[in-house]
């Protein structure tokens, strides 16, 4: 979202770093921990320079102990701190799943609401040629983890504004960052740029088709929309910017306007969050639909390590274009 006010150009990774630095400056309860986040600055550079700026008390290299990284973040959060913990890959979710699913999401609820759990878990996701365990996009696993927010930026401005809002929010946030986006550059508003959680962004307005996409698939869908424009198809791209809270109003408004829906995400189709979004649209807005909903997603196979093979199963702009053309 470019504004009339001053902007600066940042990579996605720099935007995350900027958000962390700004919030650490603002609130000394905020600290960062994870593997290689301190001296090394994070394997994606998203914590670069924080050690020098804030010192070893607030920027902490942990052992390779994902269960502890998440569990202890909960312990710190319920005793007055605001942790930002990084899992080096969201593919390690299984090691910390009890902590993510039950502790992060439910500690407050199961104890009768006497605590808040104000933390952010940073979860790098997506295909990058690192093999089937690393290249996952596991956000849909947390659809049933009520109690935790699921936030997913798709560009540097949102990465900055959503991260800042996530750190300030008193609810726990699972923050997914697509590894393939870290190097992307984009305009970022200057000043205290906050993007409210649970508010979708209409990344492109259009009247014929609604493409609901998040993470890397937003950029792909915007490219698809440009191409389709040349063919006379006017595509609207809606980025929910996360799965919980889910901005149903914006989604349903767009569906009511266009009557045609494509849902695009990188996770495999089966078990992906597209199924949930499609089900909601079927429940809430079936009468507006002029064509069946189409999901654009990865094939239902483990993601091979070979980047060469990845091109055959990871959805791209071409997959979105092809899906839109298939609509009635």
């Amino acid at each position: 979202m470019s504004q009339a006010t001053a902007t600066r150009t940042l990579t996605f990774s720099q935007a995350i770093r900027e958000a962390l630095a700004e919030e650490m400056k603002r609130d000394d309860r905020v600290f960062v921990w994870g593997e290689d986040v301190a001296v090394y600055g994070g394997i994606y550079g998203a914590t670069a320079g924080l050690l020098e700026e804030f010192g070893p008390e607030r920027v902490i290299d942990t052992p390779i102990s994902e269960t502890m990284i998440v569990g202890a973040a909960v312990g710190a959060a319920i005793t007055g701190l605001r942790p930002v913990a990084e899992l080096q890959s969201s593919g390690y979710f299984g090691i910390a799943m009890d902590e993510l699913y039950h502790k992060v999401a439910r500690w407050r609820y199961m104890h009768g609401g006497v605590f808040t759990v104000p933390l952010v878990i940073r979860l790098p996701e997506g295909a990058k040629g690192a093999g089937p365990e690393h290249d996952v996009s596991p956000e849909a696993l947390f659809l049933s983890a009520s109690g935790a927010y699921v936030v997913i930026p798709s560009d540097p401005a949102d990465a900055l504004g959503l991260m800042k809002s996530s750190i300030r929010d008193d609810n726990p946030v699972l923050f997914f960052e697509h590894a393939g986006l870290y190097a992307h550059r984009g305009e970022v508003p200057s000043g205290d740029h906050l993007v409210p959680l649970g508010q979708a962004a209409v990344k492109r307005e259009g009247s014929d088709v609604t493409v609901i996409a998040w993470s890397r698939m937003v950029g792909e869908s915007l490219r698809a929309a440009e191409q389709l424009e040349a063919e006379g198809i006017d595509v609207e791209v809606v980025d929910p910017r996360g799965l919980r809270p889910l901005d149903l109003d914006t989604i349903l408004e767009s569906v009511a306007k266009t009557g045609r829906v494509v849902i695009a995400h990188e996770a495999p189709k089966t078990g992906g969050a597209g199924g949930e979004v499609a089900a909601i649209i079927a429940e809430e807005a079936l009468e507006y639909l002029e064509s069946p909903i189409i999901r654009v997603a990865s094939a239902d196979v483990p993601i091979p390590q070979s980047r060469y093979l990845q091109q055959f199963l990871i959805p791209t702009a071409a997959s979105v274009t092809e899906a839109v053309r298939r609509l009635d």
Partner: protein, 320 residues
């Protein structure tokens, strides 16, 4: 070894008596069908929560285990609130959400809650201890867990980090010889206390049936943690008098074994010592017990009068 004052001994005794009578009362409520979930009796193991919590300040943190309610009784949690949680009504600290196996907490008392997944305590204890150090307080965390729970991988990750970072935690393992039905010897390599060596921290194995040993070992460990000298592992050897849960047929141990246990009762043994050492008369101890029962009865009465929660309760306290 420093002597424990008569006043402290009496306090520890009263604390254990409260736990025992609480347990009796909970069993009665269970029989009357007024407890909506299972219950893990802590009978026989009272010395550990009593001696392990007494050295704590009000603002120190507690991660408690599922074996009885002794830990939170000792930390000063409202008895009526705990009975309310047992009966799943709105008098409970969770406002009717918890039942039986407690998942209640009291941030004012440093009671940080309990996970149903065994081993949840480890990471949270490390995090709370990190938090105390980060905020520059001298608060200490005491984390209780069973011998079976000590075999979770989370133990290694959290105990290692706490030791590497010299965090103020006291790890207290209650080794009652069983995880439900499985004897320690069949599931566990080496002695749990010896793991302390691997993490470069002090470890002590003590008689967990003797509240004075538990109290002394915990005082030392708490002092060390408060002074910034890092964590300690205490392995308290003990016996569980009843089944793992109420209704446990206990096919894994002989009647002979359970019958021998009553001679080890930490409460009657301390009572005998108090009388023999002239610290209290039998009469005084009897009066103390009557007073405690009265307090418990009043708490049950208070809790019993509260209504059950309405259906709206399920949506409360999820998000801020």
């Amino acid at each position: 070894m420093t002597a424990i004052s008569p006043a402290t001994l009496l306090e520890l005794y009263e604390s254990m008596v409260t736990m025992k009578l609480w347990d009796q009362t909970a069993l009665r409520l269970l029989q009357e069908g007024r407890v909506l979930a299972g219950y893990h009796s802590g009978r026989g193991q009272e010395a550990i929560p009593a001696g392990g919590v007494a050295p704590l300040r009000r603002d120190d943190y507690l991660m408690y285990a599922h074996r009885g309610f002794g830990y939170t009784i000792a930390k000063g949690m409202s008895l009526a609130a705990m009975f309310g949680d047992l009966m799943a009504n709105t008098a409970g600290a969770t406002g009717g959400l918890g039942a039986g196996i407690p998942h209640f907490a009291d941030p004012e008392l440093g009671i940080l809650g309990q996970g149903g997944t065994l081993g949840s305590c480890f990471g949270i204890a490390t995090g709370a201890a990190f938090s105390a150090k980060y905020r520059g307080t001298d608060q200490v965390v005491v984390c209780f867990f069973g011998d079976g729970t000590a075999n979770r991988g989370a133990f290694h990750e959290s105990v290692n980090a706490a030791a590497a970072w010299k965090l103020p935690v006291v790890w207290i393992c209650e080794n009652n010889g069983y995880a439900v039905s499985v004897p320690v010897a069949e599931s566990t390599a080496g002695r749990i206390v010896d793991r302390a060596v691997g993490y470069g921290m002090p470890g002590v194995r003590i008689d967990g049936m003797d509240v004075t040993e538990v109290y002394r070992a915990t005082c030392e460990a708490v002092d060390r943690a408060r002074a910034g000298e890092g964590p300690t592992l205490i392995e308290a050897m003990c016996h569980r008098f009843r089944g793992h849960y109420e209704g446990d047929p206990q096919v894994y141990r002989t009647e002979e074994e359970t019958e021998r246990l009553s001679a080890l009762d930490p409460i009657t043994n301390l009572a005998a010592r108090l009388v023999a050492d002239g610290i209290a008369t039998e009469e005084r101890l009897g009066e103390l017990e009557v007073g405690v029962q009265d307090t418990i009865d009043r708490a049950v009465e208070e809790a019993s009068s509260a209504p059950m929660p309405g259906p709206e309760r399920i949506y409360e306290g999820l998000y801020v």
